[in-house]
């Protein structure tokens, strides 16, 4: 099924408590080579047909103002997956 994938990450400068907790657990399991973990979200928008360029642009727009919280998150990628 054709999709648009939106990837959202917490802003680089902000604390990511979830990532921190996971990093601590990994370290505790012995994976001390991992210095940090940051956790974002992946959002799939499903379409019947492969999305057009215009639909991708539209998705970028609502990725920025609806699917993410611009105060604490960044949209890092909006891509079509056929």
């Amino acid at each position: 099924m054709p999709k648009i994938i939106v990837e959202v990450m917490p802003k680089a400068d902000l604390l990511d408590p979830q990532g921190k907790a996971v990093a601590n657990s990994l370290n505790r399991k012995g994976h001390t080579e991992i210095t940090a973990v940051r956790i974002g979200k992946r959002i799939e928008l499903h379409y019947d047909e492969t999305p057009t360029e215009a639909q991708l642009e539209e998705a970028k727009a609502f990725a920025a103002d609806f699917l993410s919280n611009g105060v604490i998150e960044d949209v890092v990628a909006v891509t079509v997956e056929a």
Binding site: P10, K11, A12, D13, L14, L15, D16, P17, K20, A21, N69, V71, I72
Partner: protein, 764 residues
């Protein structure tokens, strides 16, 4: 321990001497030209950029109280020795501490997190809880409860939902994760808060007398240790930009202006700190809140009349790209600074390591009252700490009574159409009790944990929240907070006193003895003389009121610049009263629990509808003068309630406030589904008032109580002896119905459902 960083482009004190004329962004950092010049005079040179960052945040309105200081002094001056005899720590510390007996003390405080909560409601409200809890922890206390005072815009405005959802979720997330019961608070909707919601957070903590801690660094040689979360780029400039200027004036910033909290890290920090206190290895402690390291270092040194030498490169960072200025200003959450004697270093390290809390030694306390901060080998700060922390600018700003004030006060409710027929009165009653401000707040408070810890004796929707100080003691404290912005707008002096009177009455109805006051004064811009007049009036009213009631202000917080564009919010002085109860089992519930009890209204009802909920909901009107303040009657009433409570005469007590008698009747019956037959004709005749006033007047110094038959004679005698006006207005009933004779009768299920439907319809 020293991080390997190269000091590139660092503005040093040497550089500052050599380049006296270098342009500095003092204006962008929120300083006035006179303030910038004052810094140059203090230092005898231009400040380095790190010093400028420190002065700018510490001299911001939020940290320095520069516009409010001259008015806040009266809270310390209008007192009697009797009032302060139980005060272990007064104003000026992180929170006031009150001796409540049996070797216990409590500390409580309320603080605003208004501006961050508008920008990012969830994190703003969550970190507001985290911040106030750390203030309490800093005094040596174990935090035992929280409360929140919320004011949002008009309920039907779509943006209100965004703010309500985020704020409520943020409070419940942080508080529930910490395991602290949320025992009460307020939720008010008014369009004046549309672009500027008020999110005030209160916390209370309990400590043994000997565990009291102060934020000071006084012994040379003691170590300065930063522990808790790492320092990141969050909330940089949050203090000076977010808390002190309006939103539209801020330019784009590269760094995020908000902070993200981690309640689990805070929980570990709380337990870690309490163990450090118990082991007696800290000589002084300070939380890092607004202004971060700038505040903690300068305040600790200034309070201890000493100095400090700090190596800033020892600060553990989340992100190595932070500049020294950013490290000094960062408001990363869940951090504390401890002053530790060298001999206790090993013990300190053992405890923080046990809790897996990261720490780093930044430097040490020195005798010379000077704060030196180095970045590697370069000196970037060299200042007298007092000038940063305490001797900031103080302004006596112009005040002017608002031009609209007289017309507003003349526009009374006298000519508004009043309900006369039973049908009209019944319709208005339902309109009022289901209006967003009067309807059940369960939708919000059900998202909070009220009982975690098992020490909660009373919580929402009771008039006051009550908790035991500890599971081994029956000693408890009750807290109520109140503010009515509409009253404040009509008369800020009376408005502040009415908030005090209501909180005082709420505590008294729970059976506790009012003991201390805290406040969070939310106002518009101090640069507007009309706002400054409101502030002047409100602070005078509160100080005079506290003196008359004989309870001291132990601390508080001022939040200015609460406005959207040029329009200020209504003056909203949130007043919190703390009471003490020797045995929480003796608490008085606010709801009716048994049939066959007599219902008495204590106090006199007057025709006071100006500023009332009735005038707002039925006529969308605000004008006239708020209800009269009757502090002597409040005192007598509180003493009578206490005497009755000690003798076990009261089955319930509920204070009358917004929405008047009608509101109290609906709340008391629906609480535990105990009906009542009520007759109001006698009240109408005795007090010579209209039917509308009988139901909806907001006259103060009134309480609704129920008394069992066996205690009836004794209770009536007690009131008469003390000169408390008492009118029997009905009897509780097995039938689950509220029947108001000659007006209407409602099944309680209908009333409850209607009251509980309002907020979910708007926000769920």
């Amino acid at each position: 321990m020293l991080n390997k960083k190269t000091a590139t482009n660092v503005d040093t004190t040497k550089e500052a001497k050599n380049t006296p004329d270098k342009h500095q962004p003092w204006k962008e950092l929120g300083l006035k030209l006179e303030e910038y010049d004052e810094i140059k005079t203090i230092l005898g040179r231009r400040p380095t950029s790190a010093e400028l960052a420190m002065y700018s945040v510490m001299w911001s309105e939020h940290c320095s109280y520069k516009s409010s200081k001259i008015y806040l002094r009266q809270f310390g001056e209008k007192v009697t020795p009797e009032m302060t005899k139980n005060l272990m720590v007064g104003m000026g510390e992180n929170a006031g501490v009150v001796d409540i007996g049996e070797g216990w003390a409590v500390t409580f405080k309320v603080e605003s997190h208004n501006h961050p909560s508008y920008i990012e409601p969830f994190q703003g409200a969550a970190t507001g809880v985290g911040g106030i809890v750390r203030d309490i922890l800093t005094m040596g206390a174990r935090p035992i409860a929280v409360m929140d005072q919320l004011r949002f815009g008009a309920p039907e405005n779509p943006d209100t939902r965004r703010v309500v959802d985020g704020v409520v979720a943020g409070i419940s997330f942080y508080g529930n994760c910490l395991g602290l019961p949320n025992i009460g608070g307020e939720t008010v909707f008014d369009k004046v808060y549309q672009g500027n919601p008020l999110v005030n957070a209160l916390s209370v903590g309990a400590l043994r007398h000997e565990d009291l801690k102060l934020a000071k660094a006084s012994n040379p040689g003691d170590l300065v240790i930063l522990f808790g979360a790492r320092t990141g780029a969050d909330g940089i400039g949050g203090v000076s930009v977010l808390a002190s200027e309006t939103f539209d004036s801020t330019g784009p910033t590269k760094r995020p202006a908000v902070q993200v909290g981690d309640p689990f890290a805070e929980k570990v920090l709380i337990e870690c700190c309490l163990e450090l206190y118990k082991a007696q290895v800290v000589a002084g402690i300070q939380d890092l809140g607004g202004a971060g390291l700038s505040c903690a270092t300068s305040e600790l040194a200034s309070n201890g009349q000493a100095g400090m030498r700090v190596q800033l490169q020892n600060v553990l960072l989340r992100d190595d790209s932070l500049t020294p200025e950013e490290i000094l200003m960062s408001e990363s959450q869940e951090r504390m600074m401890a002053i530790v004697p060298k001999k206790d270093k090993a013990a300190f390290e053992a405890i923080v390591n046990k809790w897996e809390v990261e720490y780093s030694i930044l430097g040490e306390v020195i005798k010379e009252p000077r704060l030196y901060i180095n970045w590697g080998d370069e000196e970037i700060v060299n200042v007298p700490p007092r000038t940063v922390a305490h001797d900031g600018p103080v302004y006596d700003r112009p005040v002017a009574e608002p031009k609209y004030q007289k017309a507003l006060n003349k526009n009374t409710t006298k000519n508004l159409e009043k309900a006369e027929t039973p049908e009209e009165l019944a319709t208005q009653l339902i309109q009022i009790v289901t209006s967003p401000n009067q309807a059940s707040k369960n939708y919000i408070t059900d998202q909070y944990d009220h009982y975690v810890g098992g020490n909660t004796a009373l919580a929402m929707p009771d008039d006051a929240g009550m908790v035991r100080v500890d599971e081994t003691s029956s000693l408890g404290i009750a807290i109520a907070t109140d503010a009515n912005g509409r009253y404040g707008q009509l008369d800020p002096y009376a408005g502040a006193q009415l908030a005090l009177a209501e909180a005082y009455r709420n505590v008294a109805t729970s059976g506790a003895v009012p003991a201390a006051v805290t406040n969070c004064l939310n106002f518009g811009s101090p640069e507007n003389p009309e706002v400054m007049w409101q502030f002047k009036q409100a602070t005078a009213g509160l100080a005079d009121g506290c003196l008359e009631l004989g309870i001291p202000v132990t601390g508080g917080n001022v939040s200015f610049y609460n406005q959207t564009g040029d329009v200020a919010i209504h003056p909203t002085p949130v007043v919190g009263v703390l009471g003490v109860i020797d045995d929480v089992a003796r608490r008085i519930p606010s709801g009716w629990q048994d049939a066959g009890h007599n219902i008495y209204l204590l106090g006199t009802t007057e025709e006071e509808l100006d500023g009332s909920v009735w005038s707002e909901v039925i006529h969308d009107h605000l004008g006239g003068l708020p209800p009269k303040v009757k502090l002597q009657e409040e005192l007598k009433l509180a003493q009578a309630l206490q005497a009755a409570s000690v003798q076990g005469l009261l089955a319930s007590a509920h204070d009358l406030s917004e929405g008047g008698l009608a509101q109290a009747l609906v709340e008391s019956t629906t609480r535990f589904n105990v009906g009542a037959r009520v007759f109001l004709d006698e009240l109408e005749e005795k007090n010579k008032i209209s039917k509308t006033a009988v139901l909806f007047s907001e006259t103060t110094a009134r309480v609704l109580v129920t008394v069992g038959r066996e205690d009836d004679v004794k209770f009536v005698g007690l009131c008469e002896q003390r000169g408390i006006p008492i009118t029997r207005i009905g009897v509780t009933d097995t039938e689950p119905t509220l029947e108001i004779q000659n007006i209407a009768s409602w099944p309680l299920a209908t009333l409850k459902a209607a009251s509980e439907a309002t907020l979910p319809e708007l926000f769920a």
